[in-house]
């Protein structure tokens, strides 16, 4: 009963993990001190990763759920990677963001410390693994891979502020990892499996006495994912960590919060979803209220921010709130809307972080603080870019943020408590718009005359073309996301439908007998 050998298309499922891992290893071992070679390899590998991810998306698009059995071990026993439309979407998004960050870092960030490019590649490996794996313990391992690289990246560039923030970031994530292990232990103790498809088949048949343990494990897991997704009250680490990190690193971290949201979606639809018997719909009562609180805290933070980096961080917290309001519905419309918002908020948030990073050195001693400064060189370009980024992040027409918000509002319209959700979403949107308007007008319009002596540093720092072009490209991507909203939402709609077709996932991953033990399939088996 060994599974069939993979075809060339399904064998490529392992590439998004192997390619960055090998690139990083080669860079560290062979080109340790040769930054020029590292740069070529890193950008080349990121571009190749994007090509692979797009190819895999094409595979996922016209095929079923495609498993890849590592070491050719059959499903519940070995580790399995699973490619479906959802994981392929996340792979494409990760690879695109990775490429943008790799190119942006060539503007100087990668030279301000060692090993930027290898760490970037290791981080991409961990992210891709987390999106592909079909095993809960393997998810933990890839979380750790991703986090270890992120610790290095978080500290990139050094300095006291980054070290202090990094220490808290590492400590809180270590605690999160410990909780993850407790949760995995509880789930394994009760069900005897960690394969997600197998778990989905078994949670419904857990003995009544073990139900409390399973429930505890599942909710501990929600705490871990909520921590990653910066869900209130587990969001306090984010502004400190992202605000202290280097610009390109913070931009890359945009996808890290999405890993938490992805994991919530995957685990609480597939494993603890509608078929889970006594533990069905376990996360639903918690995610939506927490997401609403996240919206409020994020918006308040945006309004209270004194630096552009803090502004961007709280905008991230707020956008995670909007995203999880949609995911928190745990229905088809909510997930489709949430996925659109996920793609949009990743791209727009990354653009904002990169823009702040380009802008800060030009402002001399003011750096990214929201205070009036002498007029900037090429102020029109930067104020224009900031204006577009603010429109995208805050969700004003005509960019994708507006459409994303509209889709989320539309999805929540029929849900119970829609009045509260709409009030909070629209009210906090207004607050975020005010926050961005205040920051933009202070930074770009309230100029003060340059003191004669201090004109030197600000004038000496010239904007570099490459990083600015990357910001502009990301902002153009949000515009494209709005322009092609029709085809994109049609794709994401199909993705959401596949997410909820958990029976197909189990059939694809497990061998026929084990899949038949699943509650949905058991009835079909009994009829003939």
């Amino acid at each position: 009963m060994t599974p069939p050998l993979p075809s060339p298309a399904t064998a490529a499922i392992v590439l998004p993990i192997v390619l960055p891992a090998l690139t990083a290893a080669v860079m560290v071992l062979a080109f340790r001190h040769r930054r020029a070679v590292q740069r070529i390899l890193s950008v080349g590998a990121a571009a190749a990763l994007l090509a692979v991810a797009i190819g895999l998306y094409a595979v996922a698009r016209d095929g079923d759920v495609a498993p890849y059995y590592l070491g050719h071990w059959p499903a519940p026993f070995g580790i399995v990677l699973v490619l479906d439309r959802l994981s392929a979407t996340m792979l494409v998004l990760t690879a695109a963001l990775g490429l943008a960050v790799a190119i942006h870092s060539l503007g100087g960030w990668d030279a301000r410390g060692r090993h930027f490019h290898p760490l970037l590649q290791f981080q991409l490996m961990g992210l891709n693994g987390a999106f592909l794996t079909g095993d809960v313990f393997n998810l933990f391992v890839f979380f750790e891979g991703m986090l270890i690289a992120s610790y290095g990246l978080m500290l990139h560039g050094g300095g006291p502020r980054r070290l202090t923030a990094g220490l808290s970031y590492v400590a809180i994530n270590l605690t999160g990892s410990t909780l993850f292990l407790f949760a995995v232990g509880l789930i394994y103790a009760v069900t005897g499996t960690l394969n997600m498809a197998d778990l989905a088949a078994r949670v419904a048949t857990v003995a009544p006495g073990d139900e409390a343990l399973l429930r505890t494990g599942a909710l501990l897991l929600l705490v871990v994912f909520g921590l990653k997704a910066a869900l209130v009250p587990l969001h306090w680490w984010l502004p400190g960590a992202y605000g202290a990190a280097a610009g390109p690193v913070a931009a890359l971290f945009m996808i890290m919060t999405k890993v938490g949201a992805y994991s919530i979606l995957r685990v609480y639809v597939l494993v603890f979803g509608a078929d889970a018997g006594a533990v069905a719909g376990l996360a639903a009562p918690y995610v939506l209220p927490a997401a609403l609180a996240t919206l409020v805290v994020g918006a308040a933070g945006v309004l209270a921010s004194r630096t552009l980096a803090a502004l961007a961080c709280f905008a991230v917290v707020w956008s995670m709130g909007s995203l999880l309001v949609a995911f928190g519905l745990f229905d088809h419309a909510g997930v489709a809307a949430g996925l659109y918002y996920l793609v949009h908020s990743t791209v727009a948030g990354a653009a904002l972080f990169l823009l702040v990073d380009v802008l800060s050195p030009l402002r001399g001693r003011a750096a990214d603080r929201i205070v009036p400064t002498p007029p900037l060189p090429s102020a029109a370009l930067f104020s224009g870019l900031f204006f577009v980024a603010a429109i995208a992040v805050a969700g004003l027409p005509p960019l994708s943020g507006f459409l994303g918000k509209l889709l989320v509002l539309d999805a929540t319209g029929a849900a119970p408590g829609a009045a509260i959700v709409w009030t909070v979403l629209l009210g906090t949107s207004l607050v975020v718009i005010l926050g961005f308007a205040r920051a933009g007008s202070t930074v770009f319009w309230k100029t003060r005359p340059a003191p004669a002596a201090a004109a030197g540093p600000a004038a000496a720092a010239r904007p570099r073309g490459g990083p600015v072009a990357v910001c502009a490209a990301l902002l153009a991507a949000t515009a494209a996301l709005a322009l092609f909203a029709g085809p994109v939402t049609a794709e994401l709609d199909a993705t959401a439908r596949q997410v909820f077709d958990t029976a197909a996932y189990r059939r694809a991953v497990l061998p026929p007998q084990a899949a038949a033990a699943a509650p949905g399939a058991a009835a079909a088996e009994a009829t003939p």
Binding site: V141, L163, L167, V170, L174, S177, T178, F182, G185, A189
Partner: protein, 121 residues
Amino acid sequence: MELLVAASIGILTAVGVWLLLRLHSFPVIVGTIFLSYAVNLFLFAMGRLAIDQPPIVDPAVTAYTDPLPQALVLTAIVISFGMTALIVVLALRAFLETGTDRVDGGRDEPPTVADRAGERL
């Protein structure tokens, strides 16, 4: 034995959590170490407590202990060991660069005049 294992996991966790909530980096690090010990023991116990039973197939025996938790706990130990080493180095660097070992980057109150006067007495 169940009581002993359960109690030790509980005590280790409680100690870990308490230390984790301290203000200075050294207790926080020790707290994460205690928590990782607790979780390692917990993972061992998740395959149920079994004495004198082999984890590997042997024609002479009929009862086995669950081998998977042992594999999992090995992974968990490797990761938590590496992470502990990292956070120790990080805390040292942060102390050397900022001159304080407080996790919030703040400073402890400098000794007041009254304290100094007390020292002299």
